[in-house]
């Protein structure tokens, strides 16, 4: 029974995608997608409870034991991220449905829904998979859907951006595949649970070569500076809901894969200096990039890159507290980044431009949207009662507890970045929401989508979705106590994967 539950987060969206390819009426398709994602949220929550109480839930697909068959493993970390991701994916879907209603678009919905569900399938599979090759397949499923989504209804500019995105992602995927081949050639297995001990037997040079290749591959996917260049170039061109779901999920799946593979495959006992440097550079370069931008979506994209550095912070420390911080940060960031992009989508929709200096000359979009933007923006900057503060505090305490030079350098960079984030967000918020002295009324350059009052049902749905995401972000802060406990246990699992290994390899020879 629990085996089926482990498979459902992958099966449900895959079957849903297949069904919606049959081109049912639009209302049926929407109901189906929303139903499927609700189902995934419920499954994820159930798995989380089971994994927390009874240990990792394992499914050997087709009854083949671990080294031979495909294994799905839902431990605390996987189930937690699965639940949060599905919840955010659901909110973004509601937003997209609202936007579709408000704009009355016809054709693209027939492609959007299947592609969106395939994306969720890939994300679910990436969280649950127990072997390296299957992780590659999950990335491919997810990215293939994202290629379709980013070039949906594309004009020239979006095709250009989509091309950059597609080529960079494909290159990293092929490098990932080469890594799988090299790892298999060296160890004779791709099951994550078996790889740790076997990789430990390899000569040092070979082992670090493989570790570096893995870091480069996942670095492209998680957009670690200097491998981040594709992200701020491509994400901002897509429509708001698509950018939101990409920003919330895709890079975080990369971070998850890094977390999972580094702890299982290349465990270490000290600070990882290389990753610590990468984390510092990522934080600082990302936020300086955000300061220089003029386009609201690009500001948020650079901020996204910068805050990937915070997640690397905890992985670089490589102890229980650091990993706890990283897990909290991933959860916080999935929700908050989606909320920010949805709010930015609403702002752009109201004002008709994404350019901050033009926005400053236009009437502000109103207090509701302002709240929806400012709350996640403050949370991202780490202002106390919100979720960003909880996650940042966990990271800083981990750094202080470790007390090495690298840890203090990381903490300093993190504080500096938080300050600059606040400044960036304040700049964007001022441009978008401050009431101006009545000057010569400038005509809005283009309002192709109307002001949103024409078809208010869709607009209301979009507002509700954005508000729901923001509320989830606040809920993360409200539930901080239990969440920190859960993240701590998940981090403990990651650093001491004996239970994970024994459960996965149960019934096989090793």
């Amino acid at each position: 029974m629990t085996g089926v539950l482990t498979a459902l987060p992958v099966l449900l969206p895959a079957l849903g995608a297949g069904t919606s390819l049959l081109r049912p009426p639009r209302s049926v398709m929407r109901g189906l997608s929303i139903g499927v994602l609700t189902g995934v949220v419920v499954c994820g929550a159930a798995l989380l409870v089971l994994a927390d109480q009874r240990g990792p839930q394992v499914l050997h697909v087709g009854g083949w034991p671990a080294p031979l068959g495909v294994t799905l493993v839902a431990d605390r970390l996987a189930a937690l991220l699965l639940t949060v991701s599905a919840l955010v994916a659901l909110a973004v879907l509601v937003f997209a449905v609202g936007q579709g209603t408000a704009e009355g678009r016809g054709n693209s919905a027939a492609v959007f829904h299947p592609a969106y569900l395939v994306l969720v399938t890939g994300v679910g599979l990436a969280f649950l998979t127990g072997d390296l090759f299957n992780l590659f397949v999950a990335f491919e499923v997810m990215l293939a859907a994202s290629y379709v989504l980013i070039t949906l209804d594309a004009d020239e500019n979006r095709v250009r951006a989509g091309m950059t995105y597609t080529i960079v992602s494909l290159t990293s995927s092929l490098l990932f595949l080469s890594l799988v081949a090299l790892v298999y050639a060296a160890t004779g297995t791709v099951t994550l649970a078996q790889l740790g001990p076997r990789l430990a037997e390899l000569p040092d040079g070979l082992r670090s070569g493989l570790a570096l290749l893995l870091l480069a591959v996942l670095g492209i996917k998680a957009s670690i500076v200097p491998l981040h260049f594709w992200l701020p170039d491509s994400y901002p061109t897509a429509p708001a809901p698509i950018t939101a779901v990409f920003a919330a999920l895709l890079t975080k799946v990369g971070v998850y894969a890094l977390l999972r593979t580094q702890t299982l495959l290349f465990p270490r006992s000290d600070v990882w200096t290389l990753l610590a440097c990468a984390a510092i550079v990522t934080m600082v370069v990302g936020i300086l990039g955000a300061l220089a931008q003029d386009d609201l979506n690009r500001v948020l994209s650079f901020a996204l890159v910068s805050h990937i550095g915070f997640m690397l912070f905890g992985i670089a420390l490589f102890d229980v507290q650091g990993l706890t911080g990283t897990i909290l940060y991933v959860v916080h960031h999935i929700v908050v980044q989606a909320a920010l992009f949805l709010a930015a989508g609403l702002v752009v929709r109201r004002t008709g431009t994404a350019s901050l200096h033009r926005m400053a000359a236009l009437p502000p979009p109103g207090p509701l949207i302002a709240t929806l933007f400012v709350v996640p923006a403050l949370s991202l900057s780490g202002i106390p009662p919100l979720s960003g503060f909880v996650a940042k505090l966990a990271l800083l305490r981990a750094a202080a507890a470790q007390g090495t030079t690298a840890a203090y350098a990381l903490a300093a960079a993190a504080l500096f970045t938080s300050l600059l984030t606040l400044s960036t967000m304040a700049r964007a918020g001022m441009a978008a929401f401050m009431e101006r002295a009545p000057g010569p009324a400038e005509p809005s350059p283009k309002r192709p989508h109307g002001t949103g009052r024409v078809r208010s049902g869709g607009m209301r749905l979009m507002l509700a979705a954005a508000a729901g995401t923001t509320a989830t972000g606040v809920a993360v802060a409200v539930c901080a106590g239990p969440l920190v406990g859960l993240a701590g246990r998940a981090a403990e699992d990651l650093l001491h994967p004996r239970e994970y290994r024994s459960v996965v390899l149960e019934g096989s020879e090793r």
Partner: protein, 141 residues
Amino acid sequence: MNTVDVTMAVVVGALFAAGFYLMLQRSLMRIVLGFVLLGHGTNLLLLTAGGTPGRPPLVDGKSDARIADPLPQAMALTAIVITFGLTAFLAALAYRSWRLSGHDEVHDDVEDRRIGTVRERTETDPAPGRDEDNAVPGEDR
């Protein structure tokens, strides 16, 4: 530990080198071809990872010959399907780019260039035109 066939190593290396070289070009068609070569190189690497070629796929219970490792072959098959599908997508995207812009070059990021002139624009012109790349589709056919 298996020894690797030198021929295979050289071929894989050459495919990777040619693939990356082509991917660094500006023309989309060359990038697509580079991706195809890189995909072939990777698949060959996967096959090579399975050990020396020439072993039987199946043996009867009596003989003590080692069978060929089926796992890298299964992985290579999956990878071939994925690269095939994505090559088709990439080719379609390159075609669309050519239809929209009239050539198949990879463009610079327009926003990057605009960032450099933010200050001037905020002072003078609040609505800058986006009139780069006004090429008519199919112009240089």
